[in-house]
Symmetry: C2
């Protein structure tokens, strides 16, 4: 591609830059930094005009394909500032690869992974003062691609924008690293095999809203999704993957086509194996989970995702009954994984697996 | 709501208006008119600032929810100009009702149906010169709602735009009213029960792209979707509903939650019943369809939708074999339905069912 050293920089004058919010007021996905990365795509030209420019509105035709037919994908990763002042990314190549897999599934153009990662690093360097320093905070990085062609026929668009925006974030859940209460839905379905559940595409998230809202109205934090076919097999939780720790194995649903292949999921599998744990990817039914919760064989349950890292599950509500897990408190495995991954992210633990990319 | 007479009009000077394309060059969804309708929504204020303004780009925050999480819905209907010069809408209240059903499913605000329909009529009046006169052409009307709040957490947005854009259109398929070749996919799934298949939401269309592209690459016009659970029951075809005419019954898949409740579908059911035909909504397997095609018991097959009205299916390709229907030619029922519906739309047939709304 060779565009790398051609990224145009159009930076705001220092005086026009916004004040950085205090670490305790970050929230999640609310505050955006001063600049963003943008590049354009046309079928005949490929990707062109990569640039880092002041954060500002897109000018989109009302007939832009992304607004009507949802041809849109995204990624999410974080930059962490360690006590040593260094800024690190966690397994960012995995995000680049997944972006391209999502692009393929949604009939969108691929991007040069090396080029995009370098653009992200360059953007993070420009916005260095926005990377918060407190443990538990980070700079959330959101690469996304949208179809911009003005055309109302249903077919893949011929024009796209790829952009990267940044926001300093605190904890994703107000619970922080405390167990969440989960509602198991047998009414709603997130995705079916043969569908787009394994792509990080816009419509999957819109499709999750009503189930989440109904669960929240009943006092639960998130929804546990079951499979579309039998409504028996566990898929994922809210926008996270899920793990079940039994005495002899730690199980996560196998990637079946309808489950998002989470990078934190993969990291947990690899770390567990490294620690000598019996990490198993296989189909697991909600009945097995409930039996385990009742008998105590299920010792821990937790969600994994970029936003929350590890989110311990304190109880599952299924068919009108609450099943408490590990007395509703955070278990030792959840804690160990959280500490290990965040320790790596903040540069406190040696990067033996080569997962860390240092930005500065 | 009482906003009706408050729609602000900001019209282009006559000299700045675009030339109207020739009827033979219309295509579908390419040319947009001079003006559009827009109104805004905020959680605290409800819908406000309804206006008809020059067609022009939206200014959207890069973090707008619709671009990341696909919270977006739309409708599609047409204005037809009859030989009498009058401009008619076909069952537009049904579109308003479905828009609100889609809004509910996608956790979006509802709109006043009467108000929106009047806004559409007012917009069509403003753009009267854009309504083509030739039979087979029409002014396509695209109401749509998108989530515009700049927020990266996954929850329903608190800000929306509702807009209506217009484009003069010719035939949707290059085949015109000629039979299309359909590829039956047992690899891809459009929607599952418990999902959002019955909502007219953006992500459903993005989810259909890869299957369509693969079918097109093999020389087929569209895909026939089977159910997510058993991959046996017929759901819909491309972006249309589907009907199968047997000697003793005319069958369309029952609305199961995963099928779009088409307005043309409903019109065909009602017209058929009025004509004394045995119109049946029930589950129908692909095996039954294939057997019918082989034995000749399946006399006709056709898709129904706003864009194409009636689209005769000349053959179905399933598991490597082509099954020709009615010798690959348009059957009498398809023809009769097409003539009746377009006759009503163009004001050539008396509107006995009260389906027509005259704009001018």
């Amino acid at each position: 591609m060779g565009l790398m050293d051609e990224i145009e920089l159009r930076l705001l004058p220092e005086d026009d830059r916004k004040p950085v919010p205090k670490p305790e007021n970050l929230g999640f996905g609310i505050h955006f930094t001063d600049h963003m990365f943008v590049m354009d795509y046309e079928e005949e030209k490929g990707w062109y005009d990569p640039r880092i420019v002041p954060y500002g509105n897109f000018s989109l035709d009302p007939a832009a394909v992304c607004l009507h037919y949802g041809q849109a994908i995204f990624e999410g990763l974080k930059a962490h500032r360690g006590e040593d002042g260094k800024i690190r990314l966690f397994r960012p190549y995995e995000n680049m690869k997944r972006l391209n897999r999502s692009a393929h599934r949604m009939c969108m153009p691929s991007v040069d992974e090396e080029f995009l990662l370098n653009a992200i690093k360059q953007l993070v360097k420009v916005e260095e003062r926005w990377v918060p320093a407190n443990k538990g905070t980070s700079l959330y990085i959101r690469p996304f691609m949208i179809a911009t062609e003005a055309y109302l026929g249903v077919r893949p668009a011929k024009k796209y924008i790829l952009s990267v925006i940044l926001c300093p974030v605190g904890a994703y859940y107000s619970e922080g690293f405390n167990p969440v209460k989960i509602f198991v839905t047998d009414k709603y379905v997130r995705a079916a095999k043969g569908g787009v559940g394994e792509a990080k595409t816009a419509g999957n998230y819109a499709a999750s809203l009503m189930a989440s809202e109904e669960a929240k109205a009943k006092g639960f934090t998130q929804v546990l999704w079951l499979d579309a076919k039998e409504r028996r097999y566990v898929e994922e939780v809210g926008t996270m993957n899920i793990f079940f720790a039994f005495e002899d194995e730690i199980v996560t649903p196998a990637l079946s086509g309808s489950i998002l292949p989470g990078i934190t999921r993969d990291s947990v599998l690899r770390l567990g194996k490294k620690w000598g744990l019996n990490m198993v990817e296989r189909p697991i039914t909600i009945d097995e989970v409930i039996e385990g919760a009742q008998s105590g064989a299920l010792t821990e349950c937790f969600g994994t995702g970029t936003a929350a890292v590890i989110s311990p599950v304190g109880s599952l509500h299924y068919k009108g009954i609450d099943y408490v897990i590990n007395n509703g408190v955070t278990g030792p495995l959840s804690k160990r994984l959280f500490d290990e991954i965040t320790g790596l992210q903040y540069g406190e633990i040696e990067d033996a697996l080569g997962w860390i990319e240092t930005v500065i």
